[in-house]
């Protein structure tokens, strides 16, 4: 139940998953911030200015955010990623800003280049926590969905996850940046 609006606008970086949802926090507070269902959608790694509504329930206090403007902060989004893969040749040919594919249901997805192909069927992203996943590919071999799941059979270590058959999808180019989107707490990777 939303009790009242917090006065003013706030800058929130949505950088983690909590209870299967994208979550963030405002500076100086540990209270989790979730995106309100009637708001614009946010993806992991994005920073937005928001209006916040305090919500208190049996699970504690949190905020629901109505997103207003997205702040561009590319440098802050990928520092770990760049550092971790510096030994690999980085393919910067993909300009994902001009490459927002349309899903079958008409939604236009915003892809972000934070997943990287490391060779030998392995993906790296600092968004991947060290926990099990379930992986699915689409019949046309262009999408892979990674679903965090306690009883999953694909394990992530240090942001690396090995996915069978990935070599054929990624055209064996090390350092390939792979656009992704999020859907209900899962990662959907798009291969061309």
């Amino acid at each position: 139940m939303i009790t009242h609006e917090k006065e003013g606008t706030f800058t929130v970086r949505f950088d983690r998953m909590a209870d299967g949802r994208i979550a963030g926090r405002i500076e100086g507070e540990d209270t989790p911030v979730y995106v309100h269902k009637d708001s614009l959608p946010a993806s992991l790694g994005e920073t937005w200015t928001c209006r916040l509504f305090e919500n208190s329930g049996p699970g504690g206090v949190n905020y629901f955010a109505i997103l207003l403007d997205r702040l561009e902060d590319e440098a802050a989004e990928e520092p770990k990623d760049e550092q971790a893969v510096e030994e690999f040749t980085i393919n910067e040919d993909i300009d994902v800003d001009d490459y927002d594919p349309v899903l079958a249901d008409g939604r236009k997805m915003k892809w972000r280049k934070i997943f990287r192909y490391m060779g030998e069927d392995t993906l790296y992203s600092d968004l991947l926590d060290d926990k099990p996943f379930i992986a699915y590919s689409s019949p046309d071999r262009k999408l892979i969905q990674l679903i965090p799941c306690d009883w999953g059979d694909m394990f992530c270590n240090d942001g690396m996850i090995r996915i069978a058959g990935l070599d054929s999808l990624a055209n064996r180019e090390k350092g390939l940046l792979i656009p992704y989107s999020t859907d209900k707490g899962t990662f959907i990777l798009h291969f061309r």
Partner: protein, 198 residues
Amino acid sequence: MIVRNTIPTYDELAIRESPYCPYKPKPADRTLVLLDLRNISKKLFNDYPDEDFDFRKLLMDAVGIRDCVAAIAVDGTFYEDEDRHTRLQKDIRSSGFRLDLVPATNGSGKQEGTDVEITLVAYDYAVEKRCDCVLLITGDGDFSPLVRRLHEKGVLVEVMSFKDCLSGCLERTADKVKLIDRMPLIRIRPDECEEADL
């Protein structure tokens, strides 16, 4: 008072290559899912014989946030490769579909009855106002007249199919079309690392 931000709606003006669909899924939508197993299995057996196609995820992704009133898979009872179809039917049952088997209607074992069964079930649900949306998982163009009749009854019709199997007539008639080719439905297993050819 929170006012819904309408900005995302305008995004769709820029997307001209895919058809616009004004019907958005709502949790209150009562959805009937009908799977034409003969239509889908033919494609699966030919193109993805060794893949772990997840019908449970197909059903979950197809229904989404909506209210599923029934998920029915219709299939025949006679096949050239009975073992494979028996396994498929078992998989379908465990994936949450109610399996409706239609016996062969002529001496050669042809299964014309499955389309009739699907049509009757969908029309019954529509006439008795037991569903708001019918989700047909098939690409068979024979269902186009059914889609038009369901529209007359005020029921939305969504079609899911493989691109190769999708009839142009059915595609044009349905309110919304989703291609199974673009849905992540094939389970990747870690022990297939050396053999898998995604």
